[in-house]
């Protein structure tokens, strides 16, 4: 009987240690979340989403953040170029001569222009030649896809590293990211372009809203458009 009681006491003691350990682990997780800005008290504050920065993870670009209206640089032949990003779709492929992952993209672009999401114009952007290996770039230069050396382009789009892709439509970034292969990136940006087409940018939304208003008999100048709410 005494042995049983001692045994049970030991079991209770071990369980108590385990529970204490779990509680301590839980407290450490909560503390870590709090330090990342995602503590529980932020939910009660109701001030909107808290920005969280994690090393190695690129924060999302704010939808209203300004983007360059152009890409200015030089080609490998020494030609000075300026591309407008205000109209149409342009896919900027930020690559470099030294990155291993970029090799898959240099190969994908080598022989021709691949199928690009949103029928965008594809431009490869590398940093200026004083930061690149010109001989490597020349050996990898695609036959058709233009290569532009533009450190200002990298800085203007806050490119975190290579490879990195930014899809610009009518002066807005509608998709960006990286991947290990061209099909992955094309798929990612294809979804972004499709989402933009579905939900619309300003022009699409305006057109869609106008259609709804016209269907309801509300044309431009209708008094209801000017009533104070």
């Amino acid at each position: 009987m005494t042995g049983l009681i001692v045994g049970l006491a030991l079991v209770v003691l071990v369980l108590g240690v385990l529970v204490a350990g779990l509680l301590r682990s839980h407290a450490e997780i909560l503390k870590a979340l709090h330090e990342l800005g995602a503590g529980l008290e932020l939910d009660r504050a109701g001030d909107g989403p808290a920005p969280v920065t994690i090393d190695g993870v690129v924060p999302p670009r704010r939808s209203d953040s300004p983007v360059p209206d152009s890409l200015v640089g030089t080609t490998l032949d020494g030609e000075s170029v300026a591309y407008s990003l205000q109209g149409g779709s342009t896919l900027l492929a930020f690559l470099s001569s030294g990155c291993t992952t970029c090799q898959a993209f240099w190969s994908a672009f080598a022989s021709g222009t691949p199928a690009v999401p949103a029928a965008a114009r594809l431009l490869v952007v590398v940093r200026d030649l004083d930061e690149e290996s010109e001989s490597e770039l020349r050996s990898r230069r695609p036959a058709v896809v233009p290569v532009v050396c533009s450190t200002t382009g990298w800085d203007g789009f806050d490119v975190p590293g290579s490879p990195y892709f930014v899809l610009v439509q009518d002066g807005r970034v509608v998709g960006e990211g990286a991947g290990a292969s061209w099909p992955q990136v094309a798929n990612l940006l294809g979804h972004a372009a499709a989402d933009t087409a579905l939900h619309g940018n300003g022009a699409v939304r305006e057109s869609r809203d106008n259609d709804v208003l016209r269907a309801a008999g509300i044309e431009p100048g209708h008094p209801s458009l000017y009533e104070a709410s």
Partner: protein, 151 residues
């Protein structure tokens, strides 16, 4: 958007893109003369000095210009006596002023010298019928062009 190269400074309006390259030098050891291309359509990597490879893609409201520099010693010749960057007018354009005739297109050409440098300017519009807005578009582009003495 500003493109600075070869002693040229070009402020580009939205929708324009431009490229500046050097022509083969007329004398060994000397820098080649400058060639400026600007268009409201994409400028392909391979294109002719006067726009072959580009003008074929112009829509009715598109425009293309090619500005070729000549040797500085030619700046004093009567051909280049105009001393300012031209201001294109609709009446300057004619379907006959094209390096290669293409249905609907219209073109114009000017010779001038600025800052001791001699140039010819060749402009092509996608539609002769719409040359009035096209000429205005080109004139606005050229308003943003500055030519310096240094090449």
């Amino acid at each position: 958007m500003t493109l600075v190269a070869g002693g040229l400074r070009l402020e580009l309006a939205p929708g324009w893109e431009a490229r500046v390259r050097r022509q083969a030098p007329s004398q060994p050891g000397q820098p080649g003369n400058v060639l400026l291309h600007a268009a409201t359509v994409a400028l392909p990597e391979q294109r002719g000095d006067f726009g072959s490879g580009v003008v074929e893609t112009l829509g009715p409201d598109d425009a293309f210009i090619a500005m070729l520099e000549y040797d500085a010693k030619d700046a004093g010749k009567v051909l280049f006596k105009a001393s300012r960057i031209p201001v294109p007018k609709p009446s300057d354009f004619s379907p006959d002023v094209l390096q290669r005739t293409r249905a609907g297109n219209t073109g114009a050409q000017w010779f001038f010298s600025v800052s001791g440098r001699a140039f010819s300017l060749h402009a092509v519009l996608g539609s002769h019928a719409r040359r009035a807005p096209g000429a205005t578009k080109v004139a606005r582009l050229l308003q943003g062009l500055t030519i310096g003495t240094t090449r």
